[in-house]
Symmetry: C2
Subunit: 196 residues, 2 copies
DNA sequence: GTTTACCTGTCACATTTGTGACAAAGTTAT
DNA sequence: ATAACTTTGTCACAAATGTGACAGGTAAAC
């Protein structure tokens, strides 16, 4: 099984950067793989992430527990995405997030130290790091704009339009907190839309 | 004047990455400098940014005009920051933003093509690109969290706490739209706080 | 100095969203 | 199959925010 998923991620990475055999063998020797059950945690609040997780199979969410004890979902992670709190991983600072499996998952892990080693030794890996950061930057900017330019209903409609692949994997409560509203409000929005 | 500001940005860049003489001369030969008056635009909505601007002196804002014709400020840019719409610059796609000088400004410009050339030719420049992207990613993530975890009053208090250096350069209206509320709401919040 | 344009504070009212409660439906564990 | 738990939909009321209006203050332009 290991070999199968290693080849899977190799071909995924190659869609972004050209990797020579040195770089590929460095990457393959650096990563490990693990299966998770539903409700298991990739990591919990307070931890420093020693590795970043790449989702080969499964579905996860990232959430934060606020002062009132409410769980606020800030991201869903499906296949071919990285399960991490980027800012805390980059700085190697404790994260305030939990990452929880919503489905049984298969995760490939890259250790932080190996990534840094890859950045200094291999130009293609440094470039891949920049491209990933630029991509996340873009995603986060879109999300800031969604709060500034759109109301809750528009954010909801946009979400279901842009996430047809995962929409039937997320619960109403999780989605509501991701959109920045209460579950009752999302319920209201849904019934309002249904009447149209 | 040119030389003065070129030395200024050289020493700024050196605080992030080690630059050898090849890299420094490449950078210095790539950049140009320009003065702007108050109310002048660095670029306007619909344009593809051929260059990124580094603010040596001055103060600017980035804003978007929505369907109702309202100007929504999404960022303030002061000294030692880049005046750009990153996502559109990265992809070389037209921006929906205006960047306007709120004060007379001195801006150093890096052409997009030169930056890409720098990325491929110089490892230190590629690394600097990654660090900048990682930094912007972190800033944008903080901003998303501010919408999810905080109400308008908390966002306002956090802003004045974290931006003591520019707080007296921004107007109430601009700040309100940056916080995602109407100017009347910010006015209300201010008077509510004043009563405490 | 005067005029003009813009910015700010405040008000009343409308709309949106949050809060707490409850019941029905669905899911999980035993 | 049953019981325990979770999720969802709905309601009434409270709180927050948006909207349109107006007046006074400030700054820029002539």
């Amino acid at each position: 099984m290991e070999q199968e998923f290693k080849e899977y991620i190799d071909s995924y990475l190659k869609t972004f950067v050209d990797l020579n055999s040195d770089e590929l063998s460095f990457i393959n020797s650096s990563l490990s793989i693990r299966k998770y059950n539903k409700k298991e945690f990739l990591f919990e609040s307070g931890m420093v992430q020693k590795e970043v997780g790449f989702v080969c199979k499964g579905f996860l969410r990232r959430y934060y527990i606020n002062e009132k004890g409410n769980k606020i979902t800030t991201g869903f992670i499906n296949e071919n995405n990285y399960a991490t709190d980027y800012p805390s991983f980059i700085r190697q600072k404790p994260s305030k997030y939990f990452i929880e499996c919503l489905e049984p998952s298969v995760i490939i892990k890259f250790p932080y130290n190996k990534i840094q080693e890859g950045y200094t030794k291999f130009k293609a890996i440094e470039m891949y790091g920049r491209l990933i950061a630029e991509w996340v930057l873009t995603v986060q900017t879109d999300r800031v704009e969604s709060f500034l330019f759109e109301n809750a209903e528009e954010r909801y409609l946009k979400f279901i339009d842009q996430n047809k692949d995962i929409i039937n994997r997320v619960s109403l409560s999780h989605l509501a907190s991701y959109l920045g509203i209460e579950r009752q409000s999302l319920s209201r929005i849904r019934s309002k839309i249904a009447k149209k």
